[in-house]
């Protein structure tokens, strides 16, 4: 129970008037940058970083990590209300969150998202508290082959869910892979697929693609319907918030499963994005309400949100224990650690007890602060849905434009975003699935890098994918997940015939 004692010590450091104020400030700023697409958590944290140079490391990390929590919560708001995911990890939240909000239940959608996110984050912190050293040693087992297997698993659990013609899914997936390959290739250092546009050497940023595919694409779909003068009729009802939170235990199994997936992906480190997609895919496959997914099913919000936040939280652990950041924001914070004079690595837990346990204690407190603050804002955000379409539509176009531009101050990105908007519209109109496309853009190049690194290590032989128990298990599970739906459809066809 050394850890518990250390944690209590951590609380004694984290609970002070100054630190609580820093948490409130951090969470507030985090919600602001999270809600505004294009700013995002990594941006916000790096902007705050210079302010922390003069602070105590504990105070500094409390401010930055609170901002991180705030931004994680804020990122779900635009996903649910306007179908614009500000961060890769909130894409899966749009699948059911947005339909539910459009259906006139924005309050329920937001409250469901926030409470399951809080549950996931809490589980992530508990994991860090009790199993820090074990987790660090597990992460070391992951070489390129294992990384590839993890990405394969994420694809396998998500792709092949049916609903759209398989050839169209395949085309969407392959386009995503090709887009991910644009730019400089890590393994060879050469420039790929820029097709004569010099600036494309930087690659196509995910935010640019998503602003177009989801934000603009959805507007182009929505404008066809006659909904011009009125907004969505939604009541601002505080009781609905409490009712939704009170209903959460009903979904205990989805919560637990999604959190487990999230923690595991955060550690391995597949990251929050892969975690949320995988969790959504698995929930859809195994839920009794699987058919309702995509139409505003609460489980379709709970699964990605709980997984996203538990992964986002447990991703801080590899950062502290090994010095590998599990997310872009964690990477900025790691830069901060160095400047404050701390070295992330195996000994941080031994050398800097006050810092580490102060941080862990502040994760508990910061999350409580964050969830209370966002739950309070739910009715306000939900009221945004009542703004009529003819006003909100140009504002969304401007916000997506600003978001795409500010990713790397590039006008090319704005033009790309408009192009993605048209593609998103066409795809939706003729039933090409967008989700596999986005998943491939986000983790396609990582999967390819891992595969080719593994091939360098093995001298071109695929034997490396069944060289040890870990990688063999991962690959086998992935293949089973890929084949199960195939067998199920074949089985049901046979049954129908006989």
């Amino acid at each position: 129970m050394d850890n518990l004692e250390a944690l209590l010590h951590g609380f004694s450091i984290a609970i002070s008037v100054q630190h609580i104020l820093l948490m409130l400030l951090g969470v507030f700023l985090g919600i602001v940058v999270g809600v505004l697409p294009g700013l995002g958590a990594p941006n916000g944290v790096s902007l705050l970083l210079p302010l922390t140079f003069g602070m105590q490391p504990v105070s500094a990390i409390i401010l930055l990590s609170s901002m991180y929590w705030g931004a994680l919560f804020g990122g779900s708001v635009t996903s649910i209300l306007f179908n614009i995911p500000g961060e890769p990890s909130s894409v899966a939240t749009t699948f059911d969150g947005y339909p539910m909000a459009r259906d006139g239940r924005p309050t329920t959608a937001l409250a469901t998202a926030f409470s399951s996110a809080a549950f996931g984050a809490f589980a992530g912190v508990v994991l860090i508290t009790v199993a820090a050293s074990w987790v660090a040693s597990v992460a070391l087992e992951f070489g390129p082959a294992e990384y590839f297997a993890v990405y394969l698993l994420a694809f396998a659990s998500f792709v092949g869910m049916g609903g759209t013609p398989p050839v169209k899914t395949l085309v969407a997936l392959a386009i995503g892979f090709a887009i991910a390959a644009i730019g400089i290739d890590t393994v060879s250092g050469s420039v790929r697929l820029t097709m004569g546009v010099d600036e494309l050497v930087k690659g196509v940023n995910f935010v640019v693609a998503v602003m177009g595919l989801f934000g603009i694409g959805e507007l182009l779909i929505a404008v066809e319907e006659e909904m011009h003068v009125r907004g969505v009729n939604s009541k601002v009802d505080w009781r609905e918030v409490f009712r939704t939170v009170g209903n959460m235990p009903k979904y205990w199994w989805t919560l637990l499963r999604s959190t487990a997936i999230g923690c595991w992906m955060g550690i391995t480190p597949g990251g929050p994005t892969a975690a949320s997609f995988m969790s959504y895919g698995i929930a859809k496959r195994f839920s009794r309400n699987g058919a309702n997914f995509g139409k505003g099913e609460p489980e379709g919000i709970i699964a990605p949100e709980a997984a996203d936040h538990s992964a986002g939280t447990s991703a801080l652990l590899p950062m502290l224990a090994l010095g590998i950041p599990g997310s872009a924001t964690a990477a900025v914070m790691m830069g901060g650690l160095m400047i404050w004079g701390l070295n992330p690595g195996p000994t941080l837990f031994v050398d800097q007890k006050d810092f580490v346990w102060g941080l862990i204690a502040s994760m508990y407190l910061g999350n409580v602060v964050a969830v209370l603050m966002v739950l309070l804002t739910v009715p306000l955000f939900a009221a945004l849905m009542r703004v009529p379409f003819f006003i909100i539509a140009p504002l969304i176009v401007v916000i997506c434009t600003v978001g795409a531009y500010s990713v790397s101050n590039s006008y090319l990105d704005v033009m790309l975003m408009m192009g993605f908007g048209v593609v998103g519209y066409l795809f939706k109109k003729v039933q090409y699935p967008i989700a596999p496309l986005v998943l491939a853009i986000v983790i396609g190049d990582k999967a390819e890098d891992a595969f080719r690194q593994a091939m360098l290590l093995s001298g071109g032989s695929l034997r490396i994918f069944y060289a040890n128990a870990l990688v063999t298990t991962l690959v086998t599970v992935a293949i089973i997940l890929l084949l199960v739906p195939l067998f199920l459809t074949m089985y049901s066809k046979v049954v129908r015939r006989s």
């Binding site: 990594p42 790096s46 902007l47 970083l49 210079p50 140079f53 003069g54 992460a139 070391l140 087992e141 992951f142 070489g143 390129p144 730019g183 400089i184 290739d185 890590t186 393994v187 060879s188 250092g189 050469s190 420039v191 010099d198 600036e199 050497v201 930087k202 690659g203 940023n205 090994l322 010095g323 590998i324 950041p325 872009a328 990477a331 900025v332 790691m334 830069g335 160095m338 400047i339 004079g341 070295n343 992330p344 690595g345 195996p346 000994t347 941080l348 790397s408 101050n409 590039s410 890098d449 690194q453 360098l456 290590l457 001298g459």
Partner: protein, 334 residues
């Protein structure tokens, strides 16, 4: 552009810098300054830019605010290409390494280092040969012997492809006559973790990239690629500090010197006073105690190469890299 043309251009720039040195520094930034980092957050170049920002902000060396922007796309090319497009704007300062001139040689990019105005090289990062803690070899000589004995050679991890890490790997394998399979990762931190997990045999990380791992007992350095040992500093492990790491020549691997400069640039078409302003500013930065702390903390070597000297430095490095790159078949036709 031919190589000679590049030299001429580089010399032109250095002449400019020379006249600059004598001109009076009248210019001052008139709006907020953007520090463009040609790497992702958390890496060596990012820490370098943020350390400079830290010193300037703390000592109020400029009145205008500084914003750090990461442009890591295309292994840093995104940042340089952006800088090229900002010609004439002295409020965009780009921070990089020797990849500013090395990368255009090995990849088809829409810029060359002659499209930028060099300000200074402020610090040299060191390279060490790292192996797993429980590896049997104690010296570079043992390492070479073991690599020779193993069929298929050793696996060497590193950051990026055809950049400094791979360059050094090729130099080692040539000097020692061993086969090294180079496996590129996104960054040095990842290469360190892969070594700790035993997925590769060695890497050539910078001190700051592997410090935590050494202290934590997952890996140790065999030798440093410098003609002198590193300064002593604090103890890293219970018994050892940086100065206990032998030079690679001492340890039986004849590569006397390999360093990576961290460099600062302005866009092209800036005026001489603007260049002087930044040269003086960076000099002032180096005099502050926080800068010294940063240098010691990351075990780099402080240096200040600007103006003429910097142009000569770049020219020599271009020649050296060009030779290795053409032997390896890395060069791209322009």
């Amino acid at each position: 552009m031919s190589l000679t043309a590049r030299y001429v251009a580089a010399c032109g720039v250095s002449l400019l810098a020379l006249t600059v040195g004598q001109a009076k520094a009248d210019w001052k930034p008139t709006k907020s300054i953007e520090f463009v980092v040609t790497a992702g957050p958390g890496g060596g170049t990012d820490n370098f830019a943020r350390a400079v920002q830290n010193v300037i902000t703390k000592h109020k060396l400029i009145d205008q605010p500084i914003v750090v922007v990461n442009k890591p796309g295309g292994s840093g090319a995104e940042g340089y290409i952006y800088e090229k497009s900002q010609a004439g704007d002295p409020h965009k300062v780009v921070f990089g390494t020797s990849n500013a001139w090395q990368q255009p040689m090995v990849a088809k990019l829409a810029y060359n280092y002659t499209d930028l105005t060099p300000i200074a090289a402020m610090v040299q990062d060191e390279f060490l040969l790292w192996v797993k803690q429980d590896a049997p070899y104690k010296t570079a000589k043992d390492y070479v012997a073991a690599a020779n004995a193993k069929a298929g050679g050793f696996k060497m991890g590193g950051a990026q492809s055809k950049d400094t890490d791979e360059l050094l790997t090729r130099m080692i394998s040539k000097e020692a006559g061993i086969k090294l399979v180079y496996v590129p990762f996104k960054g040095g931190g990842e290469a360190a973790v892969q070594l700790a997990g035993g997925h590769i045999d060695s890497n050539v990380n910078n001190p700051s990239e592997s410090l935590g791992q050494w202290r934590g007992g997952t890996q140790r350095p065999l030798c440093v690629f410098n003609s002198k040992r590193l300064p002593k500093g604090d103890k890293i492990t219970a018994t050892e500090s940086w100065s206990d790491v032998p030079t690679c020549v001492e340890s039986g691997l004849n590569i006397p010197m390999f360093q990576q400069p961290r460099t600062v640039w302005l866009p092209s078409k800036v005026t001489p006073d603007q260049v002087t302003f930044y040269i003086n500013l960076m000099k002032k930065v180096q005099e502050q105690p926080e800068w010294k702390e940063y240098v010691t903390h990351t075990s780099q070597t402080s240096t200040f190469i600007a103006g003429d000297e910097f142009a000569k430095f770049i020219k020599e490095d271009v020649e050296r890299v060009h030779k290795i790159a053409s032997e390896e078949g890395w060069l791209v036709s322009k």
